[in-house]
């Protein structure tokens, strides 16, 4: 099958790749662009480990075809920190032990960052429902929710 040429932007950088029409954005990120921060937990849109934003919208990258990335802007976990400086969410996740194994963490960080950009003052229930598509099997979510709520409060104070 002939490959498709795609030009897209990932974390601010323009990238080009050739992909099979059946490959997903997740496949492209991981296998063609060497960006393995986004994880594949299911490949069926059920776990959120592959969460990215596409033109600012939170999506499961395992459900988007690589070819659909043409001309779009992709943000992944690798783009959350600014150089050496961690995003407040990243800092708080470490501090609160909001990760145990850490496999869900990239997707959850991408998802919560998208949430806080939309809604800087979410209730606990809003955070829980926003993250309902991001499975974590290790933590029981308690420390994740606390880390998110506390980051939101800090960020509100700082702005």
């Amino acid at each position: 099958m002939s490959k498709i040429h795609v030009t897209t932007t990932v974390n601010g950088d323009e990238v080009e790749f050739l992909c099979d029409p059946r490959e997903t954005v997740l496949d492209v990120l991981r296998d063609r662009l060497g960006m393995t921060g986004s994880k594949e937990g299911c490949g069926t849109g059920d776990c959120g480990a592959c969460s990215i934003t596409l033109d600012g919208r939170l999506v499961c990258s395992c459900l988007v075809l690589g070819a659909e990335a043409e001309g779009r802007e992709i943000e992944t976990v690798e783009g959350i920190a600014t150089g050496e400086d961690l995003h407040p969410l990243q800092q708080k996740f470490i501090e609160y032990a909001a990760l145990q194994c850490g496999i869900c963490t990239p997707g959850i960080l991408v998802a919560t960052k998208a949430l806080l950009e939309k809604n800087p003052d979410p209730t606990e229930t809003e955070v829980r429902y926003w993250l309902a598509g991001n499975l974590c099997r290790c933590t029981g979510y308690d420390k994740i929710i606390r880390a998110v709520m506390d980051t939101a409060a800090d960020m509100r104070e700082a702005s």
Binding site: A97, Y129, T139, Y141
Partner: protein
């Protein structure tokens, strides 16, 4: 008997909660998990699996697949070692079927190709001709006289005469006279319980990358709870010499027992050998559900007698565990854990390990114990209810303590069950008012914990920092705990310790990370290795000062004279000793290689408030508190995390999770959408209370904490549901349809 070098107070670092050393890697996407590595010229592999529950493999034709462009090699059972026996044979049979597919999802062949898509296409072109055989997937049916035999001759000598050949192991233990005990009781309740198989549900699918040359030398990268075990098994299954296969553990995206087993690694290596190229194999999620370790499903009968004052007079249990198409379901553990929380004069327990046409069960957090606790603690709750007694008081009255003869035989050393019950009773949660429609349940839980073979090494650097190499993968922050213990002993800052998970070529054998052994055994080993390094440091200081070695002691990171008679010398900091260690005797490395025995058992008490919606049958957990004995919490935040994670998994097991098999013997819900684990919006915050009753078998008193937390939730929630809706569910999961059915039955009288 406590260790004579035990330390339980005066900690400066242990008990604090610093950031984990691998935190940055894990929040930036930099950490490398099983599927995150590549190698030059790497191929991708896909496994061909049986769609049948039980079928003879008559013919495998790979010619069409091989003809596809990009396909580089295909393996079947013929590509693995022959002549294996015992557990190695069982593992190989599970990794790649020989003449019979034993469950839906059983591997029959594997393809390696230049891309994952090509491998997937090729797998579809592999033609397998099957002769379908009768199957059985239910435990009670698998024991019935007319059940199809999964494999004749699989039973061992423990099984009494007259059992179906699918019963492959038998356990019986207890003491006293249960009949006499039941006669003494004012109330005896006997009930039947069942639980469904659940999956560990780690979010990272199994993944590996194997390289194996014609010279029999290989490298393997994989996500596992124990890479020495992977090394040993792969070597056996491929006919290699163990030392020729170096295995490196990747970061691991959850395991909970499910990654103690070996599934795909030998297949990747067999393909690598056949194609002479590195081969990467990543399991699709559906394969994870179909072919890796769910728990056993169970069918249990419990009978307990109680006096009006709450004294338990006798207890008896029969536990039947379905463990898939191989021996190994933890029927013995289930039986031994069942009544462990209680001091009983009369107790009897029987366990059956039963085979069926399902995937080989694998360990899942405290294997066997949660199911037993569900049944036993439900009956105790019923007894309390009918006799009008407080459930915590009754448990306190009967609680096992130091000196109690355990239900499984030996006498308990120092244990903390009473302390967890007292703390639960005193917790505001236990006395908080409930809203209409809500009910409160409590339950205790027990797990043994484990030590196991352990090797660590602690190499000091010239600048006074230290490199700790451990052999137990970091599943939930164990690097932080290890660094804290090393820092405590060396008296240097936590940040100055760099913890690495060593590969199999670097350290001696380390047993799989299971049985909550990491903080206990690797921790003990770390402490002992640090003490070994300290001894060497003191030796160097003694030589410098010209005084005997035993006249030097270690204090706050410095060598100091042990007393006024030892001489008057300024404290010598570690960095000053290590700065010129090359010239004073060579590198300083602390070691520990041994098999620590003495992992203390641990107990927990959970309190839960649940609300049942009578319209939909949906149960919501509205408040949850975990009280558990950790012995000593090294890094309390990660201990809390283990408590919370276990509770959440238990909630899933209680309310939603189950393997659903169709009449055709196929798994019907091999997908996270249909196998629904708890999501953030399903759960409340999970409150924790850490009890510290030191384990006499660890230098700081640590007990394993990773497993006990999954034992109480099943029963605690069943008890809460019973209190909320006045229906007793004896079948898990308590999914909405089952609750509705129970409510309807109650209405219809």
């Amino acid at each position: 008997m406590a260790l004579d070098n035990m330390k339980t107070t005066g900690f400066t670092q242990v008990g604090t909660t610093p950031n984990r050393p691998d935190g940055l890697d894990k929040v930036t996407g930099r950490a490398r998990f099983g599927a995150d590595v590549t190698a030059p010229g790497m191929l991708h592999a896909v496994i061909v699996r049986s769609p049948h529950a039980h079928a003879r493999i008559k013919r495998i034709d790979t010619s069409k697949a091989e003809a596809l462009a990009g396909v580089k090699g295909i393996v079947t059972r013929a590509d693995f070692a022959t002549g294996l026996t015992g557990e190695n044979w069982n593992i190989l049979e599970n990794v790649m079927a020989s003449d019979t597919a034993l469950y839906d999802g059983h591997a029959v062949a594997a393809v390696a190709a230049t891309s994952a898509l090509t491998a997937r296409d090729a797998a579809k072109l592999v033609e397998v001709e099957y002769e379908i055989l009768p199957h059985v997937t239910d435990v009670d049916k698998a024991m019935a006289p007319d059940a199809p035999v999964i494999r004749a001759g699989a039973a061992d000598g423990s099984v009494p005469e007259g059992q179906h050949p699918n019963v492959v192991r038998y356990h019986e233990s207890g003491h006293g006279d249960v009949q006499a005990g039941f006669d003494e009781a004012d109330l005896v309740i006997e009930d039947h319980f069942t639980t469904e198989a659940t999956h560990q549900g780690y979010i990272e699918p199994h993944a590996c990358l194997g390289i194996l040359g014609g010279d029999g030398k290989g490298e393997l990268w994989c996500c596992t709870q124990g890479h020495w075990n992977v090394q040993k098994i792969c070597a056996a299954l491929l006919g290699l010499e163990t030392a020729n296969l170096r295995v490196t553990a990747s970061e691991i995206g959850g395991g909970f027992g499910g990654k103690t087993a070996v599934f795909i690694e030998p297949v990747a290596l067999a393909l690598a050998r056949k194609t002479n190229k590195p081969v990467k194999l990543v399991m699709p999620r559906a394969d994870v559900f179909k072919a890796t370790g769910p728990t056993a499903s169970t069918s249990m009968d419990i009978k307990i007698g109680m006096k009006k004052d709450g004294t338990i007079t006798a207890a008896q249990g029969v536990f039947r565990l379905q463990g898939g198409a191989f021996p190994g379901a933890p029927a013995d553990m289930t039986a031994m854990c069942a009544f462990a929380p209680y001091a009983l004069s009369n107790v009897h327990q029987v366990g059956y390990d039963v085979m069926s046409n399902r995937p080989k069960q694998a360990a899942y957090r405290a294997p066997g114990s949660p199911m037993a606790a569900f049944a036993v603690e439900s009956v105790i709750d019923e007894l309390c209810g009918q006799l009008g007694l407080d459930p915590i008081e009754v448990r306190l009255k009967n609680a096992s303590k130091e000196g109690t003869k355990a239900s499984y035989g030996p006498t308990f050393q120092r244990i903390g069950l009473v302390e967890t019950l007292e703390a639960a009773k005193a917790h505001p949660h236990y006395s908080a008012p409930l809203k209409p429609g809500q009910g409160r349940g409590i339950s205790c839980g027990f797990w043994f914990n484990h030590g196991g073979e352990t090797a660590v090494s602690l190499a000091l650097s010239e600048d006074g920092t230290a490199q700790l190499a451990v052999g137990t993968p970091d599943i939930g922050g164990s690097r932080a705990s290890m660094a804290l213990m090393a820092a405590e002993e060396l008296g240097i800052p936590y940040e100055n310790i760099r913890v690495t998970i060593a590969d199999t070529a670097t350290l001696g054998y380390n047993e799989v990370s299971h049985g909550s052994r990491v903080t206990y055994a690797s921790g003990l080993a770390t402490i002992e290795a640090a003490r070994d390094a300290v001894k060497k440091l003191c030796g160097r200081a003694a030589a410098k000062w010209g005084i005997p070695e035993d006249a030097v002691k270690w204090e706050n990171g410095c060598a100091v004279p042990s007393g006024p008679n030892a001489g008057d010398f300024d404290p010598l900091p570690m960095a000053e000793i290590t700065a010129n260690m090359g010239a004073t005797g060579g590198p300083i490395v602390g070691h520990f290689e041994a098999t620590p025995e003495g992992a203390g058992v641990s107990f927990a008490t959970h309190i839960v408030d649940a609300e049942v919606d009578p319209e939909t049958g949906k149960t919501s957990v509205v408040r949850y508190t975990v009280v558990q004995d950790a012995g000593k919490a090294i890094h309390p935040t990660y201990v809390e995390g283990q408590f919370q994670g276990g509770a959440a998994q238990g909630i899933g097991w209680a309310l939603n999770e189950e393997y659903i098999y169709g009449d055709d013997g196929r798994l019907q819900n091999a997908l996270f959408l249909d196998y629904r684990i708890p999501v953030a919006s399903d759960l409340p915050m999970i409150d924790t209370v850490i009890i510290e009753v030191p384990n006499p078998g660890h230098p700081y008193g640590v007990r394993g904490v990773g497993e006990t937390s999954i034992c109480p939730p099943l029963a605690a929630i069943a008890n809460a549901v019973s209190a909320a809706a006045a229906v007793r569910l004896r079948q898990l999961p308590m999914s909405p349809p089952r609750i509705l059915e129970a409510l309807e039955q109650k209405r219809d009288g």
